[in-house]
């Protein structure tokens, strides 16, 4: 088991190295003069020279790469030109907002896709199944940023039910920070009113993510479930005199868990990519919006840091999923140890 975890961790480190290498070499090799590029437009030759020295761009490439990697190991992502703070500090500040959005959306997604897939798989080809298949097929083509804006149009501009953007109403004071998670902080402050306000802000961005994930996720989970219904052990279970509920819950779902988990992991990676769009649209002050705003003013260290942090998040989730597989499928247990 330890060897297995070690192998997975090594894989994660390799992946991070790949992302770091890709971003490093493309940023240093492709532009004709990285210093001039970093300095931005309309800067004097003196400034460019100063930046070149400051960033060590005058040193040989391997040395630069080593320095860069050394920094990453110490979680030093450089300094943001926009906030004049170390990128790592900024990330720590903005991360809870992203996590809160991700966790809430992901929980809703997992539950919703589960129920939709079960509803569809109960009677393949039935009315519910056909409706779900049709909707998910159409929904796959909807860009997530467009979906977010469409929700804003309906729930803010037309119905006035939900706030347009932000994490907490601007005119109100948010609860004192303990965890950085607004929902948790509101509960700690004992203010149901604050919980309500945060929930209202969370509703649209979370809904956007959930709907987007459901399009692909439900389709794949449904396919996994239906495939499971065709397995011979289902006939055995029927031959034992079990009712449809026992067959579904005790036998089929239990077995479908592994493929569904695979889909879910994939979806998580997908979501890590797209959450930045949702944060931008809903002005959600997480690391995605932070990276985007930096990108807008040609401040690139935060963007590269975001890529590395997202990859690390993905590696972590994969690792957790790998530890869950043996729990739900005894056949994998032998392989993992």
């Amino acid at each position: 088991m330890t060897a297995f975890i070690a192998r997975r961790l090594a894989w994660g480190v390799l992946l991070l190295l790949l992302v770091a290498t890709l971003t490093f070499f493309l940023s240093r090799v492709v532009p004709a003069d990285p210093a001039a590029f970093l300095a931005g437009q309309n800067t004097s030759a003196a400034t460019v020279a100063r930046i070149r020295a400051e960033y060590g761009l005058d040193r040989p490439l391997p040395v630069q790469f080593a320095t860069y990697l050394g920094g990453l190991v110490r979680l030093d992502f450089g300094e943001s030109l926009r906030t004049h703070r170390p990128v790592a500090d900024d990330l720590v500040q903005f991360l809870p907002a992203s996590l809160e959005l991700l966790i809430v959306s992901f929980m809703i997604y997992v539950i919703a896709s589960f129920w939709l897939a079960v509803a569809a798989a109960r009677r393949p080809g039935g009315a519910v199944d056909t409706a779900i298949r049709l909707l998910t097929m159409l929904a796959t083509g909807i860009p997530v940023f467009w979906l977010g804006m469409a929700l804003q149009f309906v729930f803010f501009y037309r119905l006035h039910w939900l706030p347009l953007a932000g994490r907490f109403p601007l005119r109100d004071t948010p609860p004192p920070v303990h965890t950085g998670f607004l929902l948790a902080d509101s509960l700690i402050a004992g203010s149901l009113d604050d919980v309500w306000k945060s929930l209202r802000c969370l509703a649209m961005p979370a809904l956007t993510i959930v709907l987007n994930l459901l399009a692909v996720g439900t389709r794949l989970s449904r396919a996994a479930l239906i495939a499971e219904f065709d397995r011979p052990y289902v006939r055995t279970a029927r031959g034992k005199g079990l009712g449809p509920r026992a067959i579904l819950y005790r036998h089929v779902l239990r077995n479908a868990l592994s493929p569904v988990l695979t889909v879910t992991t994939m979806q998580f990676g997908y979501m890590l990519s797209w959450v930045i769009l949702v944060e931008v649209i809903f002005g959600w002050p997480g690391i995605g919006l932070y990276a985007y705003q930096s990108f807008e003013v040609f401040d690139y260290a935060p963007v590269i840091a975001l890529a590395i942090v997202s990859t690390a998040g993905f590696v972590l989730i994969n690792l957790i999923m790998d530890l869950i597989y043996p729990l739900i499928d005894p056949r994998v247990r032998g392989l993992a140890t």
Binding site: Y233, K240, G241, P330
Partner: protein
């Protein structure tokens, strides 16, 4: 008669043109006997077995009548069939590795039957599952009860499968190719176990197989199916020793061939069973039959009685032919 099947027809879909995979089957099984249904794949033998408990695959439509202990089973609602499944009729499938649920321990899968039929609580069912494993001669039963299907050998799995089918003390066992996935010595052990259970538990066994070798020592009566119809039905001794239908003879032949080293000039069965949508007119066996004559191509033979045997053939083999099967042209 514990089981009576009358005019059983099974096909896929309701369309009038859809061919019958099982095409008008009649037979009876008496209590306590081992009744073997034999045929190649596509003969409809497995569908016949599955239809008894309403376990047909989706899209299959059955008509006719299947009575068990006088009670009609065909096309009955789930609520009627469910207490019978695993209750008064147990089922054993081929390839126990895929037929068992991979994520539950073996003992749990047996205990589940007892609980589903309300015969035992959780603790009692777990205890009885170990007893059942012992009943089918699994050594170290308490340990095996906690093992997962993939952790035990194929023979063990099939024994556990039988224990599962026996859990509620059924009167009848339907075994669908129970030895196909096993090697020769294990196969013999499983057959021996079935025969012992029949003796000691007064069990009726319906054994479905494609392998004449399986039935030789076990069967009381044999039903030979070809392309959805009865070819020959009668006492095992007679059918094994003096087959009247050329198809039965050919089946017997391939069984002896697969055991003894093959001689090149022995005629095995020519060709393959016709696909369901391309069955020939007349006797369905005629394209492969060594003695087919003109009327075999035109008229399907009716089922008729020949001594103890029911037979569907225009030109049944005389007793002498079976003794030297190699002489058929």
């Amino acid at each position: 008669m514990i089981l009576s099947v009358r005019d059983l027809r099974i096909r896929f879909g309701h369309a009038a043109a859809a061919p019958f995979a099982v095409d008008g089957l009649d037979f009876d099984v008496s209590a306590g006997e081992i009744f073997v249904i034999i045929g190649e794949s596509g003969s409809g033998k497995s569908l016949t077995g599955l239809s008894v408990l309403g376990l047909l695959p989706q899209g299959a439509v059955a008509s006719g009548s299947i009575r068990f202990d006088g009670q009609e089973l065909l096309n009955q609602p789930e609520a009627v069939l469910r207490p019978l499944r695993g209750g008064r009729i147990g089922v054993v499938y081929q390839d126990p590795l895929s037929a068992m649920n991979p994520v539950w321990p073996v003992g749990e899968q047996i205990a589940e039957v007892l609980r589903a039929h309300g015969l035992a609580g959780r603790r009692e069912a777990a205890r009885r599952s170990v007893e059942l494993l012992e009943r089918v001669h699994i050594p170290d039963a308490p340990r095996i009860a906690l093992a997962y299907p993939h952790e035990i050998s194929g023979g063990m799995r099939q024994r556990a499968m039988i224990a599962m089918a026996l859990a509620c003390g059924p009167r009848m066992l339907i075994a669908d190719e129970p030895t196909t996935a096993l090697d020769v010595t294990i196969k013999a052990q499983i057959l021996e176990l079935l025969s012992e259970l029949r003796r000691e538990l007064a069990l009726t066994v319906v054994l479905i197989t494609h392998d004449m070798g399986v039935v030789a020592e076990l069967a009381d009566r044999i039903l030979v199916m070809y392309a959805g119809k009865v070819a020959e039905l009668g006492p095992a001794a007679q059918i094994m020793n003096r087959p009247s239908h050329p198809y039965t003879q050919a089946l017997l032949f391939s069984a002896t061939m697969s055991e003894a080293p093959a001689k090149a000039d022995l005629p095995a069965i020519r060709g393959t069973a016709p696909p369901i949508e391309a069955r020939p007119a007349g006797c369905r066996f005629h394209p492969r039959c060594p003695q087919a004559a003109a009327d075999c191509r035109e008229a399907a033979p009716n089922l008729r009685r020949l001594g103890d045997v029911l037979l569907a053939c225009h030109y049944p083999l005389l007793n002498g032919d079976a003794a030297r099967p190699g002489c058929a042209p």
